[in-house]
Amino acid sequence: MSKPIHMTMLTFEDFPPGRFGSFGPRRVSREEIIAFAAEFDPQPMHLDEEAAAQSMLKGLAASGWHLCSIMMRMMFDFYIGRTASLGSPGVNELRWLAPLRPGDDVTIDVDVAEARVSRSRPETGIVTFRTTARNGSGQALCEMVSPIIVQRRADVTAE
């Protein structure tokens, strides 16, 4: 299933345990929050200021799934898009810690929690990231632990 990879692509070897990087910011608008919520999570706290003010979130807040999707896009733009990634089997754990508000500037801190060679497909490795999304004040909004499957450089150069 492996295929030739351009030498500028990141492979398993480029993800040793420890801090990988911090990326962003990316501003999230009120219009984006409402558009995502209208399509995927039309609860009043994500759509309407007044209803949101009455909710536990105390004001208009993005759907948690919208924040996940924004984090995915940021990961793509900053490194997944140039990584020999074969996809992800899932997310071990995710916590929504604080609401994402209209106008917030999101940054992500990305750490490699674990990197190991796959037993079933030794030409690949499994890199488990701990990713924290923060708003402009540095407050943590979401913390996620999730693996991706990445091709190994040895596999690449052998071709």
Binding site: M1, K3, E39, F40, D41, P42, Q43, M45, S55, M56, L57, A61, S63, G64, W65, C68, S69, I70, M72, R73, F76, I80, G81, S85, L86, G87, S88, P89, G90, V91, N92, E93, L94, R95, W96, I149
Partner: protein, 160 residues
């Protein structure tokens, strides 16, 4: 929505189904997850997925969409019976999200939700904490998606 007290462990609901067309897959991917196997049929075929595959975040977001719609239908039915309805609280997170099988263009996924556990919230006496396993099964009966999600459920005595 139902009140916290009305949820029982083991209760399972079919929440609806959704067909992931190539157009919808590419639209979501173009916005949030533009990896080649989510945008292009040929790249999808060459990938581990074996075809144009929906972003996992698209599958999860559609699961949420159907859960919200199901909750709204339940709320309307309860209001029509003259019953009181509860607010659905926000979610603190989830565990064990698994993209078990790729969701390929044309697949229809049927989602279901089963209550796994319930407990009172220590910090928020007007809310209980519910844990539910949401699953998505394709048209061949194969499990494609699973997540163990947590949500706050309003208690009946919330007005106190």
């Amino acid at each position: 929505m139902r009140f916290f007290e009305d949820f029982e462990i083991g209760q399972r609901r079919e929440v609806g189904s959704f067909t992931f067309t190539a157009e919808l897959i590419k639209k979501f991917a173009g916005q949030f997850d533009p990896q080649r196997f989510h945008l292009d049929e040929e790249e999808g075929r060459k990938s581990l997925f074996g075809g144009l595959a929906a972003s996992g975040w698209h599958v999860a977001s559609v699961c949420m969409k159907l859960l919200v719609a199901d909750g709204q239908r339940q709320t309307e039915a309860a209001l029509a019976r003259g019953e009181e309805v509860a607010a659905l609280g926000p979610s603190p997170g989830f565990r064990e999200l698994r993209w078990i099988r790729p969701v390929l263009a044309g697949d229809t996924i049927s989602f279901a939700s089963e209550i796994v556990s319930k407990r009172l919230s220590e910090k928020r006496p007007q809310w209980g904490v519910l844990e539910a396993r949401h699953t998505g099964t394709n048209q061949r009966g194969e499990l494609a998606f699973s997540v163990l999600a947590t949500a706050f459920g309003q208690r009946r005595n919330a007005a106190e």
